[in-house]
Subunit: 186 residues, 4 copies
DNA sequence: TATGAATGAGCGTTCATTCAT
DNA sequence: CATGAATGAACGCTCATTCAT
């Protein structure tokens, strides 16, 4: 792992543990084992680091989903597959997922280039629209579905984190919860 | 409104607008029209102010619900009434609701006395348990239901804020969303 | 002397001794016997301190001149009187004068509000214009006269500082130099 | 132009534009199109660069004067010729001239080896002494004449820079100013 | 000769908090 | 009760300089 990646990893851990404000760049640098200036060599500002870390995580999550969801299936299977993949990734990469929430609900989210945001949102919304068109979920405002699903995932995530279930139990809760959500959407 | 209340109101507005970190106590004092020291006369620390503000809001919300929900009804009506009341209050007091989210997802939440938390949680959980016992909602882990409902409300709130709907349209969305949630839980 | 004035006085000494860059605000504060934050309580930024110090000195110099030059004299006497007063003040307040040069030739000069600059310049230029109209000095571009005189004063100042003359000798040099300048302008 | 000279040229431009403090070596290197370390390969420190640049400019100015002033003339013509040559060079190489002023009035001037200073000063002073001996200028302290002349040139330079005159008008102002100075000295 | 990643001391500035009035 | 001047630790960030390649 090169220094840049060590910095990202360390920043992730500390931001998740203590929040943005309570994590001085000096602490990140020290725990990453690099000089303070090195951090600023790679990231112009603390904000830059925060945003870069978000994009880094997003790209890793995107790669995971791409890899784990079979595209050549019927709309319903595909949609459910995506949902499960996101949850699985979130459970296997808890800090990463929590960070995306931290980031999204912070003022730093506003620093993302609008195109970046649009692009990312567009993809998700298109999938929802396809599912609606295929008649596998209710015809509702896409943004509404998107928002509700997002908060569901977060709620489920929160619940799973709070209760340290076994892998099996965890899978069961996810499946149940998925069925419930599906009952609501379909 | 006495100085103490002006401070709370001003703090609420600024915290919601800019977050905890980006809101210096000096700014709160200035915008509240009191001296810097006055704020610390009423609240020993910034943390104290933040927590006090949370409890102040919670008490106001509790009063609203108490006032707007008729207790002598069947379990289902009562349960749904509560849910609606919370949403109504949230939409009418957006800053206040947003603040409770801000607070809950911040490290400051840990400063609440555990008894306080327990008590507040207990009440909600008991209601859910009653609904389960009365057979009006599915038999699931109470904490699961509680968490899912909470995030649902937050998702709905987020959606409503994002889209500045008319009062009527808003009511419609709430009702629809409520039905969906009910379809999921019942 | 209140803290604000102590800060100004200390800043003056250090800026003159070491220049703007080589004088950290922390050093000013320490040598002024106040906390670091106190400096920023009175002056929002280091730049603010630098500009404020300039205006403070300018006002003191203006007061001195006002006090020492008799206004009800013929144009020539009045004009010469001003020149002498500036030089006298400069010799008696060497750090102050040097600071005005330091400031004027620094990028910080650009921070002065244009009106402030105009006003200050206007006064000097009007006097030169009057002298020209009265026929006591050559008819040249006012700005030219102003600039040449300014650099003359600075040259003379530099020379006097370099050679630590007695008060009497100093007066003589000033008088001689004044005569030379007059020979040039008249 | 080799890398060393590119560095010098770039440094000159940036120092003149922004001052010593506001010009990081990294910026010089970047704008010069060389690596950060390369600058320090040629100049041990930033100070070294600053001083070297000064000497480089001085040597170029010396060469110009040597080339443009005929030595075999009477004292007065020679003296005036020198004066004009300096002014001409200054107007044609504004950045270079401004840099010499920047440097001379900075703490870095103290880094010049005293012999270097003496030597350079000696030459100028000798010429003034010769002019005095030849009776073409007033018998005054050589240092006094030197200082006054220097500030006169700087004042004239400042005036010419401020007003962006045509070449012809500029020549006229120089001539006039020269006459005035001469009237004062002779 | 040339590079540029890495360093870390030091800067300007912020802000929660105290306390004499 | 109320003030606001004063504090100083801690922060984000800069930049001259080094050194392995």
């Amino acid at each position: 792992m090169d220094k840049q990646e060590i910095i990202l990893t360390t920043a992730l851990r500390l931001f998740v543990q203590n929040g943005f404000h309570a994590t001085p760049t000096s602490k990140i640098a020290k725990e990453a084992g690099v000089a303070n200036g090195t951090l600023f060599h790679y990231y112009k500002t603390k904000e830059d680091l925060i945003v870069s870390l978000y994009l880094y995580i997003k790209s890793k999550m995107g790669a995971y989903i791409e890899e784990h969801v079979k595209p050549d299936t019927d709309a319903k299977t595909y949609f459910k597959g995506q949902f499960k993949a996101v949850l699985e990734w979130s459970m296997e990469n808890r800090d990463e997922f929590y960070y995306t929430q931290l980031f999204t609900n912070s003022p730093f989210a506003a620093l993302l280039s609008p195109e970046e945001v649009k692009k990312s949102l567009k993809k998700s919304c298109d999938q929802i629209q396809e599912a609606i068109d295929a008649g596998v979920i209710k015809a509702r405002d896409v943004d509404f579905i998107y928002t509700i699903m997002g908060s569901h995932i977060f709620g489920l995530y929160t619940y799973l984190i709070k209760n340290n279930f076994s892998k099996a139990k965890q899978q069961q809760v996810i499946q149940e919860s998925l069925d419930m959500l599906w009952g609501m959407l379909a």
